[in-house]
Amino acid sequence: MEEPYLYIVKLIEAISHGGFAATVAEKYPYVVYQWVVMVVLILLSFFAVKAVKMVPGKMQNIFEIVISGIENFIIGITGEEGRWLFPILATVFIYILACNLIGLVPGFTPPTADLNTTLSCALVVVVFTHIIGIKYHGMKYIKHFLGPIWWLAPLIFVIEVIGHVARAMSLSVRLFGNMRGHELVLAILFMLAGAYLAPLPIMALGIFVGIVQAFVFFILSIMYFQGAMEHAH
């Protein structure tokens, strides 16, 4: 299959003249674009925070709407006790959203079309779930895994552990499959009928898919965190 022309990777190759950085960039373009997304997000938030005023300007207005919207949404689901989870959830949401949408720019590839990127996000969420559980319940957190009847506990424990591993798998594979599938459909349509604007509707669909998948990842993280916070029953 024809490789797309990735600007940033070519730029790194031109700068380093075929050195170590060029080989790494060519082998792992997704990591390169992950860093591009991170730099863009950090710069945006830096410029938004640099000039905070009582009467917000354009940039600050947008950021305030986004941030307060996300915060209200989280609290609407978890209640007031979930407010301290806002930083990690909003970070995951904005980062994955930016990763999904950057693929629509020509010469860029979505980092989430690689299983490593999505698996790293999913592992952060799943591990943090257990940290929350231990923080809220201490040793009693084990009750979440044992079920209601004591003599069924060994069976329930195995099932629960499989369920928690499957959470990481389903979170990562869902995002990866959606983004990679979208990329493949685009590539195939470009090969078949690229000259007749055939991929255009699929690219429009890509905006929708990117937003919905980022939202699904975000809301499932909220659900998992909330499940760890509430009492075992």
Partner: protein, 91 residues
């Protein structure tokens, strides 16, 4: 020759996998959508909440189809014969 017949079987299997998965997912998503539209028609004020829940549910159902897609991709691209096939096809 062995590799070619293996490749043919893989492509058939991948096509059937996606077809069957899309069949089931279509039925499931259609049921969910039907119930959501009925709910909105009866109580239009609840449309915001219903839409959010619906989209999450649809995404969860759709992920099953996506799993089939990933398995199909693995069947085609990540088999032990993949490098042999690529050499045969002249890449």
């Amino acid at each position: 020759m062995n590799a070619i017949s293996f490749f043919v079987a893989s492509v058939c299997a991948a096509g059937f996998a996606i077809g069957i998965a899309a069949f089931g997912c279509g039925l499931g998503q259609g049921n969910g959508l039907k119930a959501a539209v009925e709910g909105i028609a009866r109580n239009p004020e609840a449309s915001g909440k219903i839409t959010t829940t619906l989209i999450i549910g649809l995404a969860l159902i759709e992920s099953l189809c996506i799993y089939a897609l990933v398995v199909a991709l693995i069947i085609i691209y990540a088999t032990p014969y993949a490098s042999t096939i690529a050499a045969l096809l002249g890449h």
